[in-house]
């Protein structure tokens, strides 16, 4: 048996479906709810069964035998962008929209190859300020611009 793209994907999805199936038994219902013909567990259970059957079907009858070719991908760069997203999620409220977004964009441009510090700042900060102004005054969507510490902890 070759480990083709289809089979690797099917194995991953099988793990997901099995976990989902296990979790369907963690859905807590009151006795009268559990007794009804269609309860909160019915559809998830049916889906878990169908999911597992489909995963097994792909494992047995894969659509193609092509093996994954992972050469030529810039994994480090991808990981850096994901790390930046996670950082942005954590920084948005404490640092405020303007600082966190500027840092996110500068980090992104830099990770993707821009090295000139002036270009980095000019391609990030004016866009962030313009976007914030458009949202706040143009579309009436308020997001706290400054760090939480400066605005008394009332993040947007």
């Amino acid at each position: 048996m070759t480990f083709s793209k289809d089979r690797i994907g099917a194995l991953l999805m099988l793990a997901f479906c099995a976990a989902y199936w296990f979790l369907t038994y963690q859905i807590r219902m009151l006795p009268f709810q559990a007794d009804s013909a269609f309860n909160a567990q019915t559809m998830p259970e049916a889906l878990a069964v169908i999911g597992v059957i489909l995963c097994l079907a792909i494992l047995i009858f894969p659509g193609s035998d092509a093996a994954p070719d992972l050469r030529g991908y810039k994994w480090g760069l991808g990981a850096a962008m994901i790390a930046l997203m996670v950082f942005y999620g954590y920084a948005l409220r404490p640092l405020g929209f303007l600082a966190s977004t500027s840092l996110f964009l500068i980090g992104g441009y830099a990770a993707l190859g821009e090295r000139n510090p002036i270009t980095l700042i000019l391609a990030a900060v004016p866009i962030v300020f313009a976007f914030w102004a458009l949202m706040t005054w143009g579309l009436d969507i308020y997001v706290a611009p400054w760090p939480e510490a400066l605005s008394g902890g009332t993040g947007g």
Partner: protein, 511 residues
């Protein structure tokens, strides 16, 4: 119908909505042109902005982005042989050879005229078909809706392509699974929330659409950036667009092609799951066969070969609105995202939409005409300038796409947990894309999941908890039979053919 058209005109021709169409067409063309970003990502990116407007304006904006993105995809197919989406792959077969021979301007103009005609013919057919179907579907009950949703989901998987059927079915099921996360709608029970307050409302549709389309496509571009050779090709293409004039003989040659392909495209677009890609390839193949001796020119810069897929994919895009507007069942990934947006507005598409909110129903149809006119008169002359966008270096463009995707979702929920959840979904989507598992069936399953469960539960309530409605109500029964056939035929047919072929070979050797 005349009254409806007047309502639609009244809504679509307001200053605000005309601006929406113009902005939507331009933004859609811009996004659709970027390699990797297709109509689905374009619409997903626009939802946070569209939600700020009234439903008619928001839907008009998204519909305009939709046609704009399809047109933009054709432009990058013709200029740099990089179809942003599958539905414009057939466009590149003859569009790129034309561009290479110094006739990029003509190719773009033919693509624009064909798209315009396909879109307009599609909109006329939609105008006729949608109200009729809406009237018929008023008789549908929840059991029939459940069956129709099963048909929609299986059809999407069935049309997924060779070797993809099982994977598409699995992704549909994964989408349905994700739709069960959160508080159960009827019994108020928490499912798969892990005790987290952030998951009580389930996974937001916008978050999932952005993460699995816009973000994952941007991540794929980061992982495998465009090479220097491609960049040079882009620069060359923008320098020499050339004349946009189409001769009278060429116009006469493509006119019947456009008529036939538009009709074919529309009919295929109406079928759930088929959509613009199949329509464009089918139209291309049909015209190649009909062209007779001129069929050999296809693939070398034939104007017929360019006009056929272009008119078919636009007509199919319009046709896919028929099941969405009349049954509330999206026929494609793109219309699934539109359905999610409609639901965010509190609008339930379906037969009642035609009666309860005629301004939304008709303004979408009328805006398609206006959108196509705008695409022709505004975008065509601007194409050489818009094409320069392709020259913006990826190192500046990609972080901005990341930012707009993340902030678009954050501005709806104001919850930073969503940003982290997007990162998780984007990583999962990238892994699945690398393994060639399709994403569109998942989003369709996710959007239909809640409705499917609700309709099934309602059907059981009406039938005193008996499942007999599945075979006792003829309409439900036959829709389910069709769904089963649609699912099983692509799985079983190739094996039967292989078996028959082997027998024939055996008989040949024996005899």
């Amino acid at each position: 119908m005349i009254e409806g058209i007047l309502i639609g005109l009244g809504t679509a021709l307001t200053f605000q909505n005309l601006i929406m169409v113009m902005v939507g067409c331009l933004v859609g063309t811009f996004i659709g042109m970027l390699p990797g970003l297709g109509p689905m990502s374009a619409i997903a990116l626009m939802i946070p902005i569209a939600i700020g407007f009234d439903p008619a304006a928001g839907i008009i904006l998204m519909a305009a982005v939709y046609y704009g993105a399809i047109f933009g995809g054709s432009t990058s197919s013709i200029l740099i042989n990089a179809p942003g989406v599958a539905s414009t792959v057939a466009t590149s077969f003859d569009g790129y050879p034309l561009a290479k021979s110094g006739q990029a301007g003509k190719a773009l103009a033919i693509a624009a005229y064909a798209s315009f005609s396909g879109g307009v013919i599609g909109a006329i057919l939609l105008l006729v078909a949608a109200p009729r179907l809406a009237e018929v579907s008023l008789a549908f009950q929840s059991t029939d809706y459940f069956a129709l949703m099963v048909l929609g989901l299986t059809a999407v998987a069935a049309f997924a392509g060779k070797g993809q059927v099982l994977k598409a079915l699995l992704m549909t099921v994964v989408g349905l699974m994700l739709s069960t996360v959160g508080t159960d709608q009827t019994q108020g029970i928490q499912r798969f929330t892990f005790g987290m307050i952030d998951l009580l409302d389930g996974v937001s549709f916008l978050l999932l659409a952005m993460a699995t389309f816009a973000l994952s496509e941007a991540l794929m571009s980061v992982l495998k950036p465009v090479g220097e050779a491609d960049r040079q090709r882009e620069m060359d293409a923008q320098r020499s667009v050339g004349s946009m004039a189409v001769s009278r003989a060429e116009a006469a040659e493509i006119a019947p092609v456009i008529g036939r392909s538009s009709l074919l495209g529309f009919l295929i677009g109406v079928l759930p799951g088929a959509g613009a890609t199949i329509a464009s390839f089918l139209a291309y193949g049909t015209e190649q066969r009909l062209a007779g001796s001129k069929g050999s020119e296809f693939g070398k810069g034939s104007v017929r070969g360019l006009a056929a897929p272009e008119s078919a994919n636009n007509a199919a895009a319009t046709g896919s609105f028929v099941p969405l507007l009349t049954l509330g069942i999206p026929g494609s990934g793109t219309t699934a995202i539109m359905l999610g947006a409609l639901i965010s507005y509190g609008i339930q598409p379906g037969p009642r939409l035609y009666l309860d909110q005629p301004e939304v129903f008709w303004s979408v149809i009328i805006s398609m005409w206006i959108g196509n006119v705008i695409l022709l008169i505004l975008n065509l002359p601007l194409i050489p300038y818009i094409a320069r966008i392709l020259a913006i270096p990826g190192r500046f463009l990609l972080p901005l796409i990341f930012f707009f995707s993340l902030i678009g979702v954050y501005f709806v929920s104001f919850n930073t947990f969503d940003i982290h959840m997007m990162a998780v979904f984007a990583v999962a989507a990238v892994i699945l894309r690398l393994l060639e598992f399709p994403m569109a069936p998942m989003i369709l399953g996710f959007i239909l999941g809640g409705m499917m469960e609700e309709n099934l539960r309602r059907a059981l309530l009406i039938n005193n908890d008996s499942w007999s409605f599945l075979w006792e109500r003829p309409l439900t029964f036959w829709i389910l039979i069709i769904a089963a056939a649609v699912m099983l035929v692509p799985l079983v047919w190739p094996r039967i053919m292989r078996l028959l072929g082997r027998r024939r070979e055996g008989a040949g050797e024996g005899g």
